[in-house]
């Protein structure tokens, strides 16, 4: 694709064509070129048009990318260097269809562009990323951006896809018509990035020249509102005009005004005009949108050419199967089954290897150090705790590989499509399933992803149930319990995968059930309307997936090396001190005498009805930090208890554990009940913190802890008592 960067041309800045107020307002800025202050660029465009890919290419950052709308839900700031080595600040913004924001992620974009965020400078220049396969719709948002009166650079992204679809765009003609640099390229292949950097390096950038007359019936209202907004509400002149136009685009002023309420004068003017139009039967908002689209349509007609009409594309043919009402579900189930099966089969070899290395390390410490507390701290605290959890790294990597596949191919949006029907039964729509599916990896990005949900109550319901989806931190707990439950390798991996699938199913069913309950009681609202764009399929981008896997692996190891290490050490202390007066006391007696033992005895009555003893209780408490801490806690507790000469895997020590009366502790029933407990219980401080931030109050996270952990207790109680009654 040809680079279409125009050489700097002092005469072609387009100022002559602009309405006088825009030209005037931009004069001071242009008189002093951005030599002192770092220029701030905003990267905007429709959802899933490749903004973050371009942002990563420019800044060298590694923000998450994926092939579904709504990957970026918060602004990201990065730095790039101009051709002359000057720093430039770039703000990557969530995708939006319009400045009249309908969801919290779009509101972020609106607020940054209108200069309302105190923590973010108002962008000096705007990079508009356009999806070349969908020029008309992309240009609608650009059209609104033009109203801001900032210099704009247009990037025509996905030119290869457009060409394949039989759309030819004359970038030069588009540039001439818009009066701003237009760069054609493909961000995924790095094409156009150099040209974009060159354009960004220009000291002077022209203002958009595209002429568009506000429809006559609305023009006087725009002028009046603009005056009121700049005088009464203190908006800068250009922002005032853009905001006036937005107020006349959307019925809901809150969507435009956001958290900065309008002055009484502006509201009065707005209401007066709306009443007048209502009396005349003028569809004011439709008129404005239509007028923009008419102007865009003429433009597109002149710059695009269809080389052939579009038949069913490859994506359509794939979709015929993947969103089929029967085949689609079959494929979905197969993907899930394959995921769990590979967690058990593929992970086994690296897991055994890590296991043997951890054991060898423990043996080495034992053989080189003389007996004493420090040695015990290392073997029973550090190695048993951290080693016990690091073993599960391969499984976590496999999970993230699968999630990455789903995210980068475009399947996420299809899963949302497929799930729309079951979701509508509980009162949500398919879009809510994207955050839920993301929560299989980790509830935190899942909860962030709810920002794409328009309705505040639906969003809250989704946030409340998202942590019920089994996240990657539960994986080690499930795996440990399944290993304890089904010893040896004699049993086929299928059985183990089946139990795991059951737990994931239980969590998902719980999420649906509670969503149904909340939508009917606490957070009643009418059934939501869903509109979701399905991106074309892409071959998976293994580089991105691998990068994401490495990031998650690093995070997992970092957690193991910091928080889990510290908790393991503290737990070792609590299980070792105070020491029993008789130094020859058996490890069982010693641990019962320790702080942890005494504390455990206090809480035991609360969990005994679930079949858990105080040692499991300690694990439940420590795993409030993060669920996987349960595994390391079991490692420490049973490591301490096993005494000196044992470096066997935790599962063997656990299998040997007994109640004081000699009955085995980890019966199959208890193992299952414990897994069920982790399915439902809210055991993650990070999630609580993120829910607090996203809902802006302590009310909902506290409610979440209460309802989830309460449910966990009740379900486990019922399951354990029923199991006992049935003779298990």
């Amino acid at each position: 694709m040809a680079a279409n960067v125009r050489p700097p041309d002092p005469g072609a800045d387009g100022r002559g064509d602009l309405p006088p107020h825009i030209a005037a307002a931009s004069l001071p800025r242009r008189a002093s070129p951005a030599s002192e202050r770092t220029p701030v660029y905003a990267m905007v465009g429709n959802p899933n048009c490749g903004k973050t890919t371009l942002f990563n290419a420019l800044t060298g950052l590694r923000q998450k990318v994926g092939n579904y709308p709504g990957v970026t839900v918060e602004k990201k700031i990065g730095e790039a260097y101009s051709q002359h080595g000057r720093p430039m600040k770039i703000i990557d913004l969530p995708g939006a269809y319009s400045l009249a924001a309908r969801s919290p992620d779009e509101a972020v974009t609106r607020d940054v562009l209108l200069g309302r965020r105190a923590d973010t400078p108002q962008p000096d220049r705007v990079i508009c990323v356009l999806d070349a396969t969908n020029l008309e719709r992309s240009l609608y948002f650009v059209h609104q951006i033009f109203d801001l009166g900032r210099p704009v650079i247009v990037v025509l992204n996905m030119m290869d896809l457009a060409q394949r679809a039989g759309i030819e765009i004359d970038a030069r003609e588009l540039e001439a018509r818009l009066g701003v640099p237009v760069i054609a390229g493909e961000a995924v292949h790095g094409r156009g990035v150099v040209e974009l950097r060159l354009a960004m390096s220009r000291a002077e950038l022209p203002l958009p020249r595209h002429r568009w007359d506000v429809p006559a019936p609305i023009a006087p209202a725009v002028a009046e509102l603009q005056a009121s907004l700049s005088e009464g509400d203190g908006r800068p002149p250009l922002v005032a005009r853009a905001e006036a136009l937005l107020l006349l685009t959307d019925f809901d002023t809150v969507r435009v005004a956001g958290s900065t309420p309008l002055s009484a004068r502006t509201t009065g003017i707005l209401d007066a005009w709306r009443q007048r139009w209502a009396g005349q039967g003028t569809d004011w908002s439709g008129t404005l949108i239509k007028s923009r689209y008419d102007s865009i349509h003429r433009l597109c007609h002149d710059v695009t050419r269809r080389t052939r009409t579009q038949g069913p594309s490859l994506s359509d043919r794939v979709d015929a199967i993947l969103i089929h009402s029967v085949w689609g579900w079959l494929v979905f189930a197969t993907i899930m089954a394959l995921l769990f099966f590979s967690i058990f089969t593929l992970a086994e070899y690296p897991m055994n290897w890590i296991d043997s290395q951890v054991a060898a390390l423990g043996d080495w410490v034992k053989s080189t150090m003389s007996a004493g507390d420090l040695r015990d701290l290392f073997t029973d605290g550090v190695i048993a705790g951290v080693g016990g959890i690091v073993v599960f790294l391969p499984q976590i990597l496999i999970l993230f590989f699968f999630v990455g596949l789903l995210e980068s191919t475009g399947y996420m949006a299809r899963a949302a499509f497929l799930m729309d029907r079951p979701m509508s039964r509980v009162g949500l729509h398919g879009k809510s399933f994207i955050p839920l599916l993301g929560s299989y990896a980790c509830a935190i990005p899942g909860i962030m992803a709810t920002r794409t949900i328009e309705d505040a109550k639906d969003r809250l319901v989704t946030i409340l149930v998202a942590p019920l989806m089994s996240c990657s931190a539960r994986l080690p707990v499930y795996l440990l319990m399944i290993a304890t439950l089904l010893p040896g390798d004699a049993l086929p991996a299928g059985t183990k995968a089946g139990i795991m699938l059951l737990m994931y199913f239980l969590g998902t069913a719980g999420a649906f059930g509670f969503a149904w309950l909340f939508k009917r009681t606490l957070l009643r609202s009418s059934p939501p309307l869903m509109i979701l764009e399905l991106p074309p399929y892409q071959p998976p981008r293994f580089k991105d997936i691998l990068r994401h896997m490495v990031e998650r692996a690093w995070l997992f190891l970092k957690n193991a090396g910091t928080i889990i290490l510290a908790i393991s050490i503290v737990l070792w202390f609590l299980t070792t001190y105070p020491k029993h007066p008789d130094p020859a006391a058996s490890p069982d007696v010693q641990i019962a005498h320790s702080f942890a033992g005494q504390a455990g005895k206090v809480i035991e009555p609360l969990i005994k009805p679930l079949g858990f003893d105080w040692r499991i209780g300690i694990g439940l408490i420590t795993s409030f930090a993060a669920r996987e801490v349960f595994v390391s806690s079991m490692g420490v507790i049973f490591g301490v208890q096993a005494g000196d000469d044992n470096t066997a895997p935790i599962r063997d020590a656990m299998r040997a554990a007994v109640w004081p009366d000699g009955a085995p502790l980890f019966t199959p029933l208890v193992c299952l009940v414990l897994m069920v407990y982790y399915v439902f219980a809210m055991q993650c401080m990070s999630t609580i913190a993120i829910v607090k931030r996203e809902t802006n109050s302590w009310r909902w996270p506290l409610f979440q802890i209460a309802y989830m952990t309460g449910t966990a207790w009740l379900v486990c109680f019922a399951a354990y008592q029923a199991g006992r009654a049935l003779g298990f």
Binding site: T59, G60, L61, R62, Q63, K64, V73, E74, K75, K76, I77, G78, E79, M369, S370, A371, G372, D373, L374, R375, D376, L377, C442, I444, P445, M448, A449, H548, E551, R552, L555, N559, T562, I563, L565, A566, I567, I569, V570, W572, F573, A626, M685, S686, A689, I690, K692, R693
Partner: protein
């Protein structure tokens, strides 16, 4: 290393671990409220 020395060393490490847990927030630096530096997290410090 005799048993007493080992005990002192072990207790010192435990004390360090406790301090680390207590001052976790501060040690982690400016990242607030989120222990999970996932890519979707806005408070995640951007690296070059």
């Amino acid at each position: 290393m005799n048993a007493d020395m080992q005990q002192i060393a072990a207790l010192a490490i435990v004390a360090l671990a406790v301090l680390g847990l207590v001052f976790r927030r501060r040690l982690r630096g400016r990242r607030k409220s989120c222990a999970d530096g996932c890519a979707a997290c806005p408070t995640e410090k951007l690296r070059r």
